[in-house]
Symmetry: C2
Subunit: 306 residues, 2 copies
């Protein structure tokens, strides 16, 4: 079952020719979730051949422009392209006013329902639950109300052993009943214990998206053991004071959080425009946490069981 | 003296991978004027190696998103890049509210003065006069309050004949006095008539930017004889009814306006996303007006004396 993260933008405040501001598309079992939506995100989605209509949930971490200036354009394009199904937007309450003012100013009445969900970025709480995932907020330590997002796959159902399936004429109902945790009784009354005819499902996977934030240890227990952590790494060590002053992190600090939280893999991103070459950021992070990779626009990362 | 138009975006409502929404940079004597600012304009400016700080005047035709969704990003980036000089914004009054709400929501206090000039898109009037140009509004016929812009170079000063300069020892003051229209009297009291020692300056050039609009004949006298006319050409002939319904123009209608207004050159743009190949648009316009070219992202057109 798919669980992937597509990087649409890995840059910080200023959009560059080859590095867009923050946006990521999360695919869990072919359901698409958009995390942040910097300027240019809709074109990045086109480049990634994403069918825009398949996005039903958008989450905005905070109201600095590099995380949401592409949203009104995406909302408008979906309208122009004839979208009819609901679109859910999770963000700081101020964003609803901004979107409304844009739409009113152009006398636009959307053809679909834009359902706004105000989030409290100071809390760690579940804000969405679907059949496949839960999404929770993660409080960040930024100079502005900001939260990250934790998207956790729900535990799957047990697998029925292939040799058992091959040896028995199971109906659809039988499959459903066994998957639901029941024993199986055949036509002769023979009872097959559930534990004997199934294997446990793969462990549920989790992805944490943490930007923008200074080094913030209270985050550690909230993201403990996730399979993939995206953590902002705006600066290198030599700019640690700048990072602190601007409530951003260094690559090393991102790695320290990853190590303390015992995550399976760390992905760096939200790079300051000053870094043309990212090797230094990667190297400083790997000093602390080996399983580190660099986000880059266009990269697709599979979230694997750690 | 430079007078050029750089096409930053030549597409209509939906941003595409290789065709951005409306934006143009006008360079008159190395002063930069931005006409419209669709999403992605700041990156287009970077691709064109424009020094963002050199833009002092921005004009927005109307509040459909493909003409202004890139503006808040550009305003914010100029702030982050440390701009201190005034920036003048000419637009429908509602845009000021939108910009203010964005800035307030992110608690941003700009490091420079953003000076808002409300324009009445229903009028044809001068809205800016500098030492080099005047900029006037041009009422459009759209389904929303919209105006185009006419930028007209001021008449230059006469040229002093080279043979006269070579034969006389002219001071800076002499140059200034002759350029200002005076005769020249040499040390012996000999009078040289102004008309005899100068040639007239090149004719002042003019560029008209007309988007979005249905076919609209009242525009003709306002743009008569301009050296370059940009006129929207959203559709081909077969979609003339769509053009009418949506208050847009066909390429042929753009050419009809160009012909009636006796402009020197026509540039088409604001193409519907349906047209991958623009040859048909060009061909239908050229049926009516031969001196027609296609706008394309990245194209720079010199405005030449017709």
């Amino acid at each position: 079952m798919t669980f992937s993260v597509s990087i649409l933008g890995s840059g910080a405040a200023i959009p560059l020719i080859h590095r867009n501001p923050s946006a990521q598309l999360i695919n869990v079992h072919e359901k698409l979730f958009l995390f942040d939506c910097g300027e240019g995100t809709q074109v990045q989605l086109r480049k990634n051949r994403v069918r825009l209509r398949k996005i039903n949930h958008i989450f905005i971490s905070h109201l600095h422009g590099d995380h949401y200036f592409g949203l009104i354009g995406l909302i408008t394009s979906l309208h122009l392209l004839g979208r009819e199904s609901d679109l859910h937007l999770f963000a700081h309450p101020s964003l609803e006013k901004i979107i409304k003012l844009h739409l009113e100013s152009s006398q636009t009445i959307l053809k679909y329902s834009l359902i706004f969900h105000a989030i409290d970025p100071g809390l760690h709480e579940v804000i969405l639950e679907t059949s496949a995932v839960t999404v929770s907020t993660l409080p960040m330590n930024h100079n502005f109300p900001t939260c990250g997002f934790l998207i956790r796959e729900k535990q799957g159902k047990p697998n029925i052993r292939k040799d058992f399936v091959a040896g028995h004429d199971l109906s659809k109902d039988d499959f459903r009943m066994i998957k639901a945790g029941n024993d199986f009784i055949d036509a002769d009354g023979h009872v097959y214990r559930h534990a004997d005819i199934t294997s446990p499902p793969a462990a549920a996977r989790a992805y944490a998206y943490c930007t923008d934030t200074a080094y913030y240890e209270p985050l550690v227990p909230l993201i403990h053991g996730v399979d993939l952590l995206y953590h902002e790494a705006t600066f290198m060590d030599d700019k640690e004071k700048d990072a602190q002053a601007k409530f951003h992190s260094t690559a090393r600090q991102a790695a320290m959080i990853a190590k303390k939280a015992e995550v399976k893999k760390l992905m760096l991103g939200h790079y300051s425009a000053r870094y043309k070459n990212l090797d230094g950021l990667l190297s400083e992070a790997k000093d602390v946490f080996t399983e580190t990779i660099l986000a880059d626009d266009g990269l697709v990362v599979e979230v694997l069981n750690g």
